[in-house]
């Protein structure tokens, strides 16, 4: 079994750490450097944890488990107005980042109000690009219940976070966490920290279930392998956006333009196959500046192979 860990420390002797991860058969999922500080999210074999932890301590860093690593989660509020931001939306996003997830905070264009709130198709498709979405609603039960239609048909699994426990929302989302409504200050008291843990636990469980579902028909290739390939591609290497390649459970998000680069990526080779043959590339719905890569499952690739072979038969 592989375990995902986060190293938090300096850049001192970090090259040795990368070599150690590689020697252990592990992989670096995410590497973020800020000045002389370095955060490395790594996936390593469980039995090598002690060795890697000891080395990280030796070079002055800290290691902790990050169960949400390798996922991208959207935290959605009715709007980005000061009524909903920065608390509790940013507190939730920050807590999920501490658990290893890459988070995106977004607000709907017309999500405010009980009678007038709405979500459009484009917003639904954007939210659907993420591994999971958290909808943070308010303090009044009738308002929360009226707004459950905002997330009832989103492709990504949804966790509803609201003040009171709404009725009739159980079938419209994967999980509900009550007790977190509109706030004017940071969530830092022990009960509030427990609520944040509860949200992270619920998201973690949903993502574990999603992983199990994926394991029934596994991906043809692990997303980290595509990531390593992309990191050698110059436009990705030169990309100044934070985390230019973000892992999803079933693929990746690459933060370079689709129109300009998708053909180059499709023509890259890995294990004797073109990336375009084993993945589906599409532009992100946010704008043209990101590419979504969905990796096909083994059965899909095998079926396509057999169709091709059949097609070639005289």
């Amino acid at each position: 079994m592989f375990e995902v860990l986060l190293y938090d420390g300096g850049v001192y002797r970090s090259e040795e750490l990368f070599e150690l991860i590689e020697d252990a058969g592990g992989t670096v999922i995410q590497k973020t450097r800020s000045s002389q500080m370095l955060s490395v999210t790594m996936s390593i074999p469980e039995e090598d944890r002690a060795v890697i932890t000891a080395f990280c301590k030796e070079i002055g860093g800290e290691v902790k488990s990050v169960p949400l690593a390798g996922t991208e989660i959207a935290v959605v509020g009715p709007t980005l107005g000061r009524h909903h931001m920065p608390h509790p939306i940013c507190d939730i996003a920050e807590h999920l980042r501490k658990q290893g997830a890459i988070t995106v905070v977004m607000g709907l264009a017309r999500g405010r109000g009980k009678l007038t709130s709405q979500i459009n198709l484009e917003e639904k498709m954007i939210i659907g690009e993420y591994d999971a979405a958290i909808f943070s609603l308010g303090n009044f039960k009738p308002c929360v219940e009226a707004k459950t239609d905002l997330f009832s048909d989103i492709r990504a699994p949804v966790v509803l976070v609201s003040g009171p426990m709404p009725e009739g929302a159980e079938n419209k989302c994967e999980a509900i966490v009550s007790g977190v409504g509109r706030k004017a200050s940071r969530m830092r008291t022990p009960p509030e920290r427990e609520k944040l843990d509860e949200i992270a636990d619920k998201v973690g469980k949903i993502l574990r279930d999603k992983k199990k579902l994926l394991d029934e028909d596994p991906l043809f290739i692990h997303p980290t392998e595509i990531k390593h390939l992309l990191e050698e591609y110059e436009p990705v290497n030169m990309c100044l956006r934070p985390a230019p390649v973000v892992l999803h459970l079933d693929g990746l998000r690459v933060k370079i333009g689709y129109g300009e680069h998708h053909e180059d990526i499709e023509n890259m080779e890995i294990y004797g196959r073109k990336v375009g043959d084993i993945c589906r590339l599409s532009p992100s719905k946010i704008n043209d500046s990101s590419i979504l890569i969905r990796i096909k499952t083994r059965s899909e690739v095998l079926q396509e192979d057999s169709v091709k072979e059949g097609g070639n038969d005289p």
């Binding site: 009715p78 007038t116 308002c143 509109r182 706030k183 004017a184 200050s185």
Partner: protein, 189 residues
Amino acid sequence: MDIEVIAEDEFGGESYRNLFGEIMADVGKAVQMEKALLVLKPEIPLFIFSVKLRAEPVSKTVADVTNIRTEGGTVYITITEERYAPDILKGLWARYGRNSVEQKTRLDIEVRNASEKDAGSLVVASGEEHLKEIIGAVWRSMPEGIKNRHTFIDGQVITVVATEERFEPHMLDEGSEYHRKMTEAGKDV
């Protein structure tokens, strides 16, 4: 500040009691409020927020918030209410120019070539501005989607009635009734 909440939704009522207190403290208006009444009816939706101020918002001049005296053609000003200090300095600079105004310490200002009467009559905070700030703070504490608002103002009492779509007569009547109660009541509203 005493906050009274009238709401059927227990969680929402308690949350808004805390929210209102925290937001008013954040924007520095809590000290000016004697009492607040929050009527929350999210099922309609109708929200009535009424606040009773400790004092009616009136214009403040330099003489109201400072000790002022003249010696040998120079006006000496000692600020007694520090929160007006930036506005006093701004007003004096605008009227007499930066060369004539010298800030000796945080609260002591000397103005050359000025008269005590003239400097003392300078308005540093208008009552209307103060009122706008309080109404803005009340709006800020209300739910975001409740955009259709009507404000009643009488002396020390400000009442904001808000709903999401169009006002119906009974909403304004209810708001007006709570406003009247707050206006007529003494300290034990």
